[in-house]
Subunit: 145 residues, 2 copies
Amino acid sequence: MTDRPDLAAMIVPLSRALVDAELPVLREHDLSMWAYSVLLALDERPLRTQAALAESIGADKTRIIGVLDDLQRRGLIDRTPDPADRRARVLSLTAEGRRVRDSAQTGIRHKEERLLARLSVEDRRGFLRALRALAALPHEEITNA
Amino acid sequence: MTDRPDLAAMIVPLSRALVDAELPVLREHDLSMWAYSVLLALDERPLRTQAALAESIGADKTRIIGVLDDLQRRGLIDRTPDPADRRARVLSLTAEGRRVRDSAQTGIRHKEERLLARLSVEDRRGFLRALRALAALPHEEITNA
DNA sequence: TATTGTTATACTCTATAACTATA
DNA sequence: TATAGTTATAGAGTATAACAATA
């Protein structure tokens, strides 16, 4: 094995620093990290249940309720009972929600690009390709490796 | 900008999954993540103060006290008042501490290698090179980017 | 007066279980 | 009875402030 620091020893602090870097951007939009995650997850397609949303962003279903309350109150998401099953709440982005998401994401990507600019072209490419591949793995496939 | 998911959206879940994957290995050695971090940080050179150790692993100085208590009680670290400044505690690994660290690290690297084996040779190289470069940056240099 | 380590306290986050309303 | 959402509670993790010893 090539000599290198532990993966986690590098990734965990980097992860924390990235979050710290992005929180000010989110705060400008009055978004918590979970709220931003919700806006991202709802970007593509509406979701039929809150539990599905929670699972897709790695949160507990009880943990996002306050987040959804706030986003709904601010008109950033729609949250209506499913006529076919009135237990479920269909979730989707509003136009305003999409606007806020776009604005926040632009700021975040701007910061990220400045960080990635420190890498050589080939390292940057390998880093992003590898990161996408690893991030696409199911959680259990990593923990059970 | 090339289209890609947010960096943090990929790194944060990956970071969590990595930690979840490694915790069982650490538990076999009765080590918490912070305890393991301490053993890694003390590996190279002894440190003159607990505050310096805490800072080097991104922890609060009050948070590692219980960790150090436990490691000292188990004979994995030495923790003696500095004769030149009796306020400070000089910290170093014992031979047993080094043995436990090596054993835990072997298990952790084994898991990591199985994960990295999913990447192509060139992506793996770029990923590790980029990760080392980004992890070497001071925390503020990332947050202020 | 400042610094090192420590303890005590409060605060945030998270996980678990219990409740309601629908099915 | 099972499920979606909600609420309440407790637990872990973390941050802040106050304290004792030493400089």
